[in-house]
Symmetry: C2
Subunit: 146 residues, 2 copies
DNA sequence: CTCAGTGCAAAGGATTTGCATGCCG
DNA sequence: CGGCATGCAAATCCTTTGCACTGAG
């Protein structure tokens, strides 16, 4: 896990590369995302950032995604979710509750990751897709919904 | 892969279990989904079924999903996608184009699946999630978008 | 000064729902 | 007959966008 201060430096640098600024709103969003252990919905981001208007949040998230600082996670729930880009946090997976949409992060042992990654790269070679990275989620029922 | 006629029988049975009927529209949707090798968007379903109104399609897909006949696949694109439930087709994964949202199915060697599944069940035990099944997708650029 | 960022309000667009009608059991 | 299914149209609601204003460089 990259330390928090570095995250801001990297975010600033990536934005600069596309001629954008690392403003207070954007820094606040990154801070909020760095502080949790699961992807946040927009309402959650707004709650963590009183005073941040929806439209600014959406717009800034789009910019941050474009710059490779955040990643949009489509979980199937009503809202999209956002998390820091993998190289700003660490490779991980999600538990997704199929009933309420709750999400939780988890990681796999390195050797399993390696096996999966190898098999996937092999599979990818048989198709016309390129620049592939994987996304492995678990779907089930969370404690509340069981 | 279960043969086509069985799919309809199973679909009918599952609907009956929830006091719903296997109508012409629903059968048409299932037929269309059984005929492709990738999840379909709603527009694609409508195109494959001239005369089927949007609202009926959405409503029937919801019913079919509820009955466990189809599965909604959230690919991140503009439209949701739908495919037959796994036990009506077979366990598979998706290549997803991060630019245009195109999707293609693929499968992994059985031994890799087994390894992954074992590791995931172990990981799942450490959380409060239950009834877990995995969902492994590859994200990259399709031939058109490279 | 300039131009990206901001915030409000309004628009967009996929999906859902109300309601009257049709049809299967 | 009774109740689910249908289809049209209208409503929802997450997300995007237009526009005037502010602020950093």
């Amino acid at each position: 896990m990259v330390v928090a201060v570095e995250v801001h430096d990297i975010a600033a640098a990536r934005l600069r590369d596309t001629d954008q600024r690392y403003t207070r709103n954007r820094r606040a969003i990154v801070t909020a995302l760095a502080a949790t252990d699961r992807p946040l919905t927009l309402p959650e981001l707004l709650k963590a950032n009183k005073g941040l208007p929806q439209s600014s949040a959406y717009r800034n998230l789009a910019v941050l995604e474009e710059a490779g600082v955040v990643r949009r996670v489509v979980s199937g729930g009503e809202f999209a979710r956002y998390e820091l880009a993998e190289d700003l946090s660490e490779h991980h997976h999600h538990f997704i509750c199929s009933t309420c949409g709750a999400i939780e992060d988890f990681t796999l042992p390195a050797d399993v990751e390696a096996t999966v990654e190898r098999a996937l790269q092999r599979a990818a070679r048989r198709t016309r897709f390129a620049g592939v990275h994987h996304q492995l989620d678990l779907v089930g029922l969370c404690a509340n919904c069981q």
